[in-house]
């Protein structure tokens, strides 16, 4: 009984991201997007946490997962279904997880994957500013982190804590978002990679509103190039939760 309120809230490891508007790189051209308040995990989901999840949910172990939900790289660095490789830090972010598995993990915690706008909105905060989009030092640091190899093997919490109290939004891994597949930046990846205007209804919607934000450009390009069954070495996730109205 005592633990009931704690369990049902389940937000000890989450922080509230206050409502606000921001100008996304892509979307409704120049319109700012309003992001309602929501909760976001303080840290990315770790190897250890994901291990506990697959132990409790055998269908999501790497030998059991449906081919529909993950390609061959799903948890492919793990020793076996329920053991991490020796060199893996249990507190490092889990990676090589498909979008389907990430979504299931969050659903199981009574959470959900953050929307892309939610993620971008929370990620534009530096240590001291809710919106550091124009802070060139902050943006330069993000771009530099993208060029640093193997950051995914470091434990969560090893980078900076942002304005909202959230760690590692940049610098460790890239993260799945619920609607990553709403990025229509190029033609289908199996084609030539050039924007094929015939491929998309309302194709003209693709226009960068803030090309200065090179780091954001890289994230959107990445999202536009991946599929939900992919497992990628530097791609992990964290969960979000809608704030009570």
């Amino acid at each position: 009984m005592v633990s009931m309120s704690g369990l049902s809230l389940g937000q000890d490891d989450m922080k509230m991201i206050g409502a606000g508007s921001y100008l996304p790189l892509y979307g409704s051209d120049t319109d700012e997007v309003f992001v309602p308040a929501f909760y976001l995990d303080v840290y990315p989901v770790t190897n250890q946490e994901f291990l506990a999840f697959v132990k409790a949910n055998p269908a999501w172990r790497k030998s059991k997962i449906l081919g529909l939900f993950a390609d061959g790289s799903y948890l492919n660095t793990w020793l076996n279904d329920t053991t991490l490789a020796v060199e893996m830090d249990p507190n490092a972010p889990v990676t090589n997880v498909s979008w389907f598995a990430a979504k299931e993990y969050c659903d199981c915690q009574e959470k959900r994957l953050p929307g892309m706008d939610e993620w971008e909105y929370a990620a534009m905060a530096s240590e001291i500013q809710a919106n550091a989009q124009t802070d060139s030092v902050f943006n330069q640091r993000i771009v530099s982190s993208y060029e640093t190899p193997k950051t995914y093997s470091q434990p969560v919490g090893s980078t900076y804590r942002n304005y909202w109290g959230i760690y590692d939004m940049h610098g460790l891994i890239w993260e799945w978002t619920f609607d990553f597949s709403s990025v229509l930046i190029s033609g289908e990846s199996r084609k030539d990679g050039q924007t094929d205007r015939n491929l998309f209804c309302a194709a003209g919607a693709v226009s960068a509103s803030n090309l200065m934000d090179y780091a954001a450009f890289m994230r959107y390009a990445f999202r536009g190039s991946i599929k939900a069954n992919y497992g990628i070495r530097n791609l992990g996730f964290r969960c979000a939760k809608t704030a009570n109205k």
Binding site: L7, G67, K103, L184, A202, A205, G224
Partner: protein, 237 residues
Amino acid sequence: MQKLQTNNMTKFMGLIVLTMILLSCQSEKKATVQYQCPMHCEGEKSYSDPGICPVCKMDLVRTDETQLAAEERDVSDVSIFNLSSKWKTQNGNSIELKDLRGNVLVMVMIYTSCKSACPRLVYDIRDIHDKVADPSVKYVFVSIDPETDTPERLKKYARDNQMDGPQWFFLQGSLEDVRVFANVLAVKYKKIDPQVFSHSSIISVFDKNGVLSYQREGLGENTDQTVREIQKLIVRD
């Protein structure tokens, strides 16, 4: 006293509801799962938790594993019939994708208020339908705008396009299930404003077991290749 009891009862109900939510991920299987040594070192002795056999130290296996395997064998692990999402048809009926099993499926994601690419896609589908001319093939349109595209609206769209009959399915799902389904098909879409979505123009062909067999990307492509792929699948089991 009366008040105290009511209060306790409320807490008790709350706990039941909470327990149900917490167990939801492991579904109903949890209650019946038992584990046994694969070598039957201790005869038919079973355990309620996974672990190792105290005699031969081998990992215990689930007693329902063989039965599970048999149930799942006939559905390929890449089949869309593994999806448990529920959909409403243009006739207001509830279906799951696996209800379409045994038919070659041609699927496309559209929305009815679409003015640009969708009419072309619909035209191509009708062209494919006429060339294939086989009533066993089902044509499935999944709406990417389920908030607008109610069964009634989908019914009207089907009628307006002369696509209302047993071969045609127009499906409304939840926002979440639509995104999951699109991700299975690698179809991308984004709501630009209340009336406009931007989306990939992909026609997907599935064999009778729900396995994706062919995709045609883009508009203005010839439909002949798609027709040939469908014809190959019709004669295959």
